[in-house]
């Protein structure tokens, strides 16, 4: 009984350390992003260069519209019709591997280093 509890805590500590290392590595491996890719329901609907300041309206799933702003090399969701507003709270993202996810609208905004050459731009 006691031994099992101890094994549990040891495994948990190892898991937490691994997570910590994972977070550090993912923080360190980010680079400067040039493009923001906006996906709705897994499909790329917009690719925006971060160098150009723009405001775009994205029609997400479930009739949720998102107001996405590109400003000074960063991208953020200024307004979303969804109830939980987690995408708004996430704030600005600038680096690669960073993303903003709106679950109700099934919308993902990802930052990439260069424009994806395997995907077509659909506007």
């Amino acid at each position: 009984m006691e031994k099992r509890q101890r094994i549990f805590w040891i495994i948990l500590i190892i898991l937490l350390v691994v997570c910590g290392i994972w977070i550090v590595i993912s923080r360190l491996s980010v680079g400067e992003g040039n493009y923001a890719v906006i996906k709705v329901d897994g499909e790329i609907i917009r690719q925006l260069p971060l160098a150009e300041d723009t405001v775009v309206m994205i029609d997400g799933k479930n009739n949720i519209r998102l107001k996405v702003i590109v400003d000074k090399g960063s991208i953020f969701v200024e307004h979303s019709d969804c109830p939980d507003k987690i995408c708004e709270q996430k704030g600005r993202i600038t680096k690669t591997n960073e993303n903003i996810i709106c679950l109700p609208a099934r919308t993902v905004i990802e930052i990439q280093g260069t424009e994806g050459d395997t995907v077509d731009v659909v506007i």
């Binding site: 009984m1 099992r4 509890q5 549990f8 805590w9 948990l12 898991l15 937490l16 691994v18 997570c19 910590g20 994972w22 977070i23 993912s26 996906k39 329901d41 897994g42 499909e43 479930n62 939980d84 987690i86 709270q89 996430k90 591997n97 993303n99 996810i101 679950l103 109700p104 099934r106 993902v108 990802e110």
Partner: protein, 170 residues
């Protein structure tokens, strides 16, 4: 009169009471937006009730409480997709907590931690399928740490409440 079996009525009342408690805790969490480091992370206070039921009553009682809470939540402040998220997380966490407690015979807090982590993983799996992207897995390490902390808190609460022996007079 005295031959009437009250045990079923007692059980029904007990489960209803627990569902109501779990629901109120979810509602409080929904209304009072407790500020967290990572946006969207919640304590999962309703899991206190599920874990408490699992500790003091039986597996099937806990399961009914869980299903009741999920349906009530979805009806009152959710929709089909939020039900899918909470059901996947809730059922996975329930399964893991059952195994942790009854099979591995872990104590309350360790079971609660495993429940918290598996709840988050369950929701990530749904998110992965719904959003059709693997980008959500970036959040896994944060969610494991968050689940551990929330599970620790909930486990300690259950330990405190269990001493009261609320349902010991059956």
């Amino acid at each position: 009169m005295s031959s009437y079996d009250f045990s079923k009525t007692k059980r029904l009342t007990k489960i209803s009471l627990l569902i109501a408690t779990a629901f109120i805790l979810s509602w409080i969490e929904f209304m009072v937006n407790i500020p967290m480091v990572i946006p969207g992370i919640k304590l999962g206070l309703a899991n206190i009730v599920i874990l408490f039921t699992l500790c003091t009553c039986s597996k099937s009682d806990a399961f009914y409480v869980l299903v009741g809470r999920l349906l009530l939540n979805a009806l009152l402040f959710g929709n089909i997709s939020s039900l899918l998220y909470s059901a996947c997380g809730g059922l996975l966490s329930f399964g893991v907590m059952c195994v942790a407690m009854k099979v591995l015979q872990l104590k309350t807090t360790p079971s609660s931690i495993l429940g918290g982590i598996s709840h988050n993983i369950g929701q990530l799996i749904v998110a992965c399928f719904m959003m059709k992207t693997s980008a959500v897995w970036v959040y896994l390490p944060y969610l494991i740490i968050g689940g551990t902390l929330a599970g620790m808190f909930n486990g300690m609460m259950v330990k405190k409440i269990s001493v009261l022996k609320i349902f010991s007079g059956e």
